[in-house]
């Protein structure tokens, strides 16, 4: 499965091993996992992730296909959760498999940059003071200019 949008937890290590096992001809595998961090104030109770069913799958598939076209890859994978997550839980994962390491690194980096600003997910932080939508970073939009 190249793109997966899910509300339940998944096992990044098992995912990495399964991805690697089927990446015949790859010499380099890169994975990125995003973890729900606690806030600087230390009082994050949960992270809620809203998404746009239908468009999310479309957008992730388009981003993944673009990576397959731009880089010399054997395979690429994107998994992203939605719903309520606790601090320390894995939010999402990308993995890339390539003959050579430069393509594997660049493709994972590319996938992350596009996913941050082009996939319809919205994060909300829940603390004892209430719920607050996470603001998009100008940096994230600017990161797309690299590609």
């Amino acid at each position: 499965m190249e793109v997966e949008v899910r509300d339940s937890a998944f096992d990044p290590g098992a995912t990495l091993n399964a991805f690697t096992a089927r990446a015949t001809g790859a010499g380099a595998i890169v994975s990125f996992t995003g973890i729900t961090r606690d806030l600087a104030t230390g009082d994050l109770q949960a992270m809620e992730i809203e998404h746009y069913p239908g468009m999310t799958e479309r957008a992730l598939t388009a981003i993944r296909d673009e990576a397959m076209t731009r880089f010399n890859l054997v395979d690429a994978l994107v998994i992203h959760r939605y719903g309520r997550l606790s601090p320390g839980e894995t939010i999402m994962m990308v993995a890339t498999a390539a003959p050579h390491r430069r393509d594997a690194f660049d493709a994972a980096d590319f996938l992350m940059d596009y996913l941050k600003s082009r996939a319809p997910f919205w994060k909300r932080e829940i603390t004892p003071d209430g719920a607050e939508w996470v603001a998009a970073k100008d940096d994230d939009e600017a990161a797309l200019d690299r590609w």
């Binding site: 995003g34 992730i49 809203e50 998404h51 746009y52 239908g54 468009m55 479309r58 957008a59 992203h80 939010i91 999402m92 992350m112 996913l115 941050k116 600003s117 082009r118 996939a119 319809p120 997910f121 919205w122 994060k123 909300r124 939508w133 996470v134 603001a135 998009a136 994230d140 939009e141």
Partner: protein, 81 residues
């Protein structure tokens, strides 16, 4: 035409989806029309720099056509990853 709202746009407008009849030809014209529907709409759409739009589930610029679209969605900049 089905209009969908996400994140704080959904909260400000008070619904995630509504059906509208419109002759608007572009996203920006549609926004101007939606703003007249209620004070909540006007407030939600007051800062268009903070809003993104998708027509039939494709992210588009504000001058994109909406004629014939089944679904137009509005939401803040995305914060995935």
């Amino acid at each position: 035409m089905q209009i969908r709202y996400f994140a704080w746009l959904r909260e400000r407008i008070g619904t995630g989806a509504e059906e509208v009849e419109t002759d608007a030809k572009t996203v920006v014209a549609l926004i101007e029309e939606l703003k007249t529907r209620s004070d909540a709409h006007a407030f939600a759409f007051s800062d268009t720099a903070a809003i993104r739009a998708a027509v039939d589930q494709d992210l588009v610029p504000f001058d994109a056509p909406v004629t014939g679209a089944k679904e137009v969605a509005f939401f803040p900049p995305m914060t995935g990853g």
